[in-house]
Symmetry: C2
Subunit: 434 residues, 2 copies
């Protein structure tokens, strides 16, 4: 085995750069190496701290300080492989915390403890992968319908699963246009419908009207066994049920599954999510895998056991009341931002009860980059997450407003018209702005 050390592929020819993997020198002791690496990590920590304090455009809660209290668990590779509701011979898992979290979400979405099945995913996309697969396996000839404002994972999944896909138009608000849905359902009346309903679209934070979708299906003559509804509730899966008190977003209605992100509104260092469905659908994807001593009906197999503990900790620290307070604060701050932008003569839109403020795309890439704004066409948006305090919004406005004056001061360049994107009433361009 001595020859191993003569391996041709040299690992130390390149000069050391902070992000490279560089072979330790023969004389280098472990402590020196560790010190050197920790120095790089500390620099990186400071860089992240700066970036996180200007994090406005992405739907993730950067208020994660508390989770450092859980760091002793990093000593273990915690793996929740397989079904969370089945015990496994693998003992280094956190399934009891996972179940605690799932039970909480089951209560939030009004489904009985013994009527749901679910698991903690790697994020919203895995939930979509799972929910749409359930739909396709239950209705193999079904067509997938989803609005054009859906998350990009939806058309991606249609392609992965070789499903026929119909894009539905959306309204100015960003929600699904049910008139267009109706026309497409009627054309395809001979085939089942698998509908992705957005509870919070990625760019405008619009919520598809679930009741109207159900009514449209009924109007078109689709019985319950001819459709499957998956809710992509990545962003608003916690917010919407808290706001409407479980009247609209609930398993009491004929939905099949819901996918909710854990790192978005609640917050988690690691991307994660909750996928929840009906226990009666549990068998659909089950494969009895003897050698892992569990039934694997998940997408990913090996699953992070730390994420459920982060979620458990976050939910226990805040509780429903704490989260409701966060929702109220975020909505208030979003309205504050909208009002300040409107007041400055900037095209702005904020949907009812939404935390995503859409506005005119800044001309200066420096501002986009500094504040990490997501842009689409002539729009930009800010997601007012719990870490986005009013002070941060003020700093942003203090940065944006004076600079914006310089872009348009000589009148040679005019602000873009956003009437088609966010509606005439929200557009402040030279034509529509009064």
């Amino acid at each position: 085995m001595e020859t191993l050390s003569g391996k041709k592929v040299s690992m130390n020819t390149k000069e050391m750069e902070s992000s490279d993997v560089v072979e330790p020198r023969d004389e280098e002791c472990v402590e020196d190496r560790m010190d050197y690496l920790i120095k790089i990590v500390t620099q990186f920590h400071d860089h992240l701290k700066e970036r996180a304090s200007h994090y406005l455009g992405y739907p993730a809660n950067q208020d994660c300080n508390d989770y450092v209290a859980l760091s002793s668990l990093l000593k273990f590779h915690i793996n929740n492989v397989g079904d969370p509701l089945k015990e496994s011979v693998n003992g280094v898992h956190s399934k009891r915390f996972e179940i605690g979290v799932l039970d909480w979400f089951a209560r939030l979405w009004n489904i009985e403890k013994d009527a749901y099945w679910g698991y903690v995913t790697n994020g919203g996309t895995e939930g979509n992968l799972h929910g749409l697969l359930l739909g396709r396996e239950l209705l193999p000839t079904g067509i997938l319908y989803s609005s054009k404002e859906s998350h990009y994972s939806i058309p991606k999944i249609a392609r992965m699963y070789r499903m026929d896909f119909e894009t539905i138009a959306s309204l100015e608000s960003g929600e699904m246009d049910c008139i267009d849905l109706k026309s497409k359902l009627i054309i395809n009346k001979d085939r089942p419908a698998i509908i992705n309903v957005n509870i919070g679209t990625t760019f405008k934070g619009a919520v598809d009207n679930l009741d109207l979708v159900l009514q449209t299906l009924e109007d078109c003559g689709f019985s319950h066994d001819q459709f499957y509804i998956h809710c992509d509730a990545a962003i608003y899966g916690i917010i919407a049920p808290l706001l409407d008190q479980g009247h609209t977003y609930t398993f009491k209605k004929p939905i099949g599954s819901v996918s909710i992100s854990g790192h978005k509104f609640l917050g988690s260092p690691i991307p994660c999510g909750i996928q929840m469905t009906r226990k009666s659908y549990r068998h659909v994807l089950s494969n009895n895998i003897e050698y892992i001593h569990t039934i694997d009906n998940t997408i990913s197999g090996s699953r992070d056991g730390h994420a459920p503990i982060f979620l458990w900790y976050g939910l226990n620290m805040k509780g429903c009341k704490g989260l409701q307070k966060d929702v109220e604060n975020c909505i208030k701050n979003a309205r504050y931002l909208r009002d300040r932008l409107k007041h400055a003569g900037i095209s702005t839109m904020l949907n009812e009860m939404s935390i995503i403020v859409v506005f005119e795309r800044p001309l200066d890439h420096e501002i986009v980059h500094k504040w990490q704004l997501q842009c689409l066409g002539n729009m930009a948006h800010i997601v007012v997450m719990p870490h986005v305090a009013r002070e941060i919004l003020d700093n942003f406005l203090d940065d944006l407003l004076p600079k914006r004056n310089t872009w348009y001061q000589d009148g040679k360049v005019l602000p873009h018209c956003l009437a088609e994107d966010i509606g005439i009433s929200n557009c402040a361009c030279s034509i529509h702005g009064k």
Copy 2:
């Protein structure tokens, strides 16, 4: 918004149990709640410590102590969404560490820095999802071939992707039977072949003979544009190239992609992996998603930014030499375990250069549970990972051997014959054992 607090779904009706999410009491202060939760986490930490010290049956390295040094980064939600090789407006990412890790694996698998594309996944399954999707999109009418000893994700993915799937027989060692492969390729000569090659099967740690697979394809008249090879190297993706010095497992051969687990041999608190392919295939799954300002050609979208830092840290601490030492130690310890089991008259198999010892399934479930042994039919296995020191193996044997004597002492029950599972020469049953 006052009505929010009147939400019907009560969160505090159940009595407090450690893993439940329980609404904080009105008078409860944050510090009290935190103390209470940390008490539960500390108990859980001690439970994990005990379970991790008896962790023999699963292919994960529990030697994760060093990673606690990175815990300050838990303050941030680090998200590497999209292509790691493209800069993003999102600044709270760790893509430079991810690239450092990918470059290292590119050197290990002999592919030039400017010729590869890859990303850090949530684990081996996501890599398989990605690699097989590449294969299917490049060869849409292709049939997927994989041995019956493949990881359960392979047939699962065939179903997800609506691909025709041919299971290939395997040899006693667990490796793909290329005679059976040949017969199935000839029958389906009119359709392209997508072949999943196992570099370390899950149960026996067998390595499919890549050269023989390539030879078989050539013998059957498949030109390079008529096949795609994905390597599922979850377990041995680091071990095999280190052992054979890059002669066999290399992108110099016509393979399309390789998926390697990060938490298995190297070790990481969080499941993760490396998916690597050729840059020329990068476009195949690309969707230009303007609003995340990046090209997303990954499966999962949002991606954990902590995992690449764990991998970067682990690789930098060990380097190639440290990993080679780990490989040597694990192989030595696996041989030690095999020899001790054989000496005790127990049916045992260990493939050449493997770290997975297959042996007679213990009759006592207590032992299976205590040592977390994976079982399949009448076989059990132990994966001799870097955390499995010889002392742990001795403790296991001290536990197993006296108990085993009691199971078979009266001669009424005889050890199962394992000749069909692991070969006559490895079987120690009353017929084959001398």
